[in-house]
């Protein structure tokens, strides 16, 4: 019982999973506290789904241990399963069942009594905003509705930990926003672990991020730190009509500039791709002022968000530099 009250929801130690000779994940170590919303980030094949499958007790690890709410996922898997709500990748549902019928069935399966299951079904139908389709057959629902049914299933037994594997995969922008709002609504009530390969996605919903790459943890830190990394990796693109020499001269003296790449563009314009030092958060206003003072023409000024790959490159470079030292 003492363990149940522990502050830690997930504790992963030296977790390794091998498929034959290939290690899907190797020596993972991370912790998630109660109430946290943590994003597991990484490109396809980084080991996100494998990690979640192990944490949800569906699969056994080759070595290492993982504990959820103080219970070992291998030796006390039923105790763990009582405390989690898991939505696997691609959100599998029984397509021949009706939404309400499915959620009641899942509630009963997760140990709720008939009355309790009906009560929770009413609640999650409202919470996930799917009460308008409660009598529809799941197979006939749109992807967005199905995803919300999947999330409703994950929270039907009011679990301590919710594990969502790629909850926004395959959704259109509107559906993504709805799913994201739903996840935000769950914050505070549950501990949430979300996997995603979209950096922006995780940044919007999570307060801590674990970045996986090739089965290993690249970084495990809070989102604010990630944002500062992203600031360092941010790039600005400006298309300016100006004499090339003057332009080069101006960039050389520009405050906080890290690197410039100038190439000729249509109609005597020059396309400048600029990278800035960490302390510069948004240099666009300064760039605009510079152009106006020189009486040049400006037709594009864009700040590009770093992709996951950019962050990876930045972090790997940082690590290599550390190792060199």
């Amino acid at each position: 019982m003492g363990e149940e009250k522990s502050d830690l929801m997930i504790e992963v130690k030296n977790l390794t999973k091998r498929y034959g000779n290939v290690a899907a994940i190797s020596n993972l170590n991370f912790r998630v506290k109660r109430g946290e919303v943590v994003g597991l980030l990484g490109p396809n094949g980084a080991g996100k789904s494998t990690t979640l499958k192990i944490l949800s007790t569906f699969m056994a690890a080759t070595s290492g241990t993982a504990r959820v709410a103080g219970y070992d996922v291998f030796d006390q898997s039923e105790e763990v399963r009582r405390r989690i709500g898991y939505m696997p990748e691609n959100n599998p549902l029984n397509p021949d069942m009706r939404v309400r019928e499915y959620l009641k069935f899942r509630g009963r399966l997760k140990g709720l009594s008939a009355v309790e299951s009906r009560r929770r079904t009413d609640y999650v139908l409202k919470e996930c905003d799917i009460d308008d389709v409660e009598y529809k057959i799941i197979g006939q629902l749109s992807m967005g509705y199905r995803r919300r049914v999947g999330i409703a299933d994950a929270i039907i037994n009011d679990p301590e930990l919710i594990i969502l594997d790629e909850p926004t995969l395959g959704l259109d922008p509107n559906q993504i926003r709805t799913a994201r709002n739903l996840i935000k609504k769950l914050q505070g009530k549950h501990t949430i672990l979300i996997s995603s390969h979209i950096l922006h996605e995780v940044e919007m919903t999570c307060n801590r991020v674990v970045i996986l790459r090739q089965g290993k943890i690249l970084v495990s830190d809070d989102t604010k730190h990630l944002q500062s990394i992203m600031g360092q990796a941010a790039r600005v693109v400006a298309e300016i009509k100006a004499p090339l020499e003057d332009l080069k001269f101006c960039w050389r003296d520009f405050e906080g500039i890290g690197g410039v790449d100038i190439s000729a563009s249509e109609g005597d314009y020059y396309r400048c791709v600029l990278s800035f030092k960490a302390e510069i958060s948004d240099p666009r206003e300064d760039i605009f002022r510079m152009v106006r003072e020189n009486n040049w023409n400006l037709r594009e000024l864009t700040m590009q968000r770093p992709s996951l790959e950019d962050v990876f490159m930045y972090l790997t470079r940082e690590k290599e530099e550390e190792e060199d030292l």
Binding site: F58, M59, R81, P92, N94, L109
Partner: protein, 250 residues
């Protein structure tokens, strides 16, 4: 137990929520009905000392329907869940593997029992019109049904095993049919040959499911073949359980 019944109801509901269940039941009914009326007509033209249940359950009609319908009933049980991914949501709910396995097995067996139920009613109805226990004896009808259920248990266990080892329903069906045919063929020769002359044939006759059903239809319930069928059923269920546990192997 609650979880078992929830899963069992869902399993049975799965047969009727799509056309599959209705198609299997109606096809079996058409075949069984045709075969049954054919036998009744033959009773009139070819005098025999066999009772109607014996004639029916030792005919090739019965075994054809039996061997074909069993894989059709069971092939979906695990393979379908695996192919559409719901196996993962099922197994990460707080249920244990025995509950899942037994609900699938019992669901299939219940459905199988439903298929054969109308034949029994037909026989009982016939008995109301012909007041002759030599043609249809009421205890014979019940013991026949018992025999059919015992053999059904074995075939449903084989089917569950076949379905648990693959994602493909077709592969599950073929494997189940092959294994079921194999069990049937064990006693196939003894069906035609004189068992007293050859020890091997006699041994095989002891393992014959066909001979067992035929015996039951004559009102005899022998515990030896019953034990054999139950042991084999348990063996297949146990192996299936191990297959389900495999994903938790390190």
């Amino acid at each position: 137990m609650n979880i078992f019944f929830t899963l069992f109801r869902r399993e049975l509901g799965g047969y009727f929520s799509s056309l599959n269940g209705y198609v299997i039941i109606s096809s079996a009914l058409v075949l069984v009905g045709a075969c049954f009326s054919d036998l009744v007509v033959r009773l009139n033209t070819h005098p025999t000392d066999m009772t109607l249940p014996t004639m029916f359950f030792s005919s090739w009609y019965f075994w054809l329907i039996m061997l074909l319908s069993s894989p059709l009933i069971t092939m979906r049980s695990f393979a379908k869940e695996k192919s559409n991914g719901t196996y993962e949501t099922l197994m990460t709910a707080p249920v244990n593997d025995w509950q899942v396995l037994m609900s699938k097995f019992c669901g299939a067996l219940f459905f199988y029992a439903m298929i054969w139920m109308p034949v029994m009613f037909s026989m009982l109805i016939l008995r109301m019109y012909i007041d002759n226990a030599l043609i249809v004896s009421i205890p014979g009808v019940f013991t026949s049904y018992f025999g059919v259920l015992v053999v059904g248990m074995l075939y449903m266990a084989i089917g569950c095993f076949s379905s648990a080892v693959t994602k493909s329903q077709i592969v599950a069906g073929m494997l189940s049919f092959t294994l079921g045919m194999g069990v049937f063929m064990l006693g196939y020769r003894s069906f035609f040959e004189n068992t007293e002359t050859n020890q091997l044939v006699e041994l095989m006759s002891r393992l014959s499911v066909a001979a067992y059903v035929e015996e039951c239809s004559r009102g005899i319930i022998d515990t030896r073949p019953l034990l054999f069928a139950l042991t084999l059923t348990f063996f297949f269920l146990f192996v299936t359980y191990q297959v389900l546990q495999r994903r938790r192997w390190k």
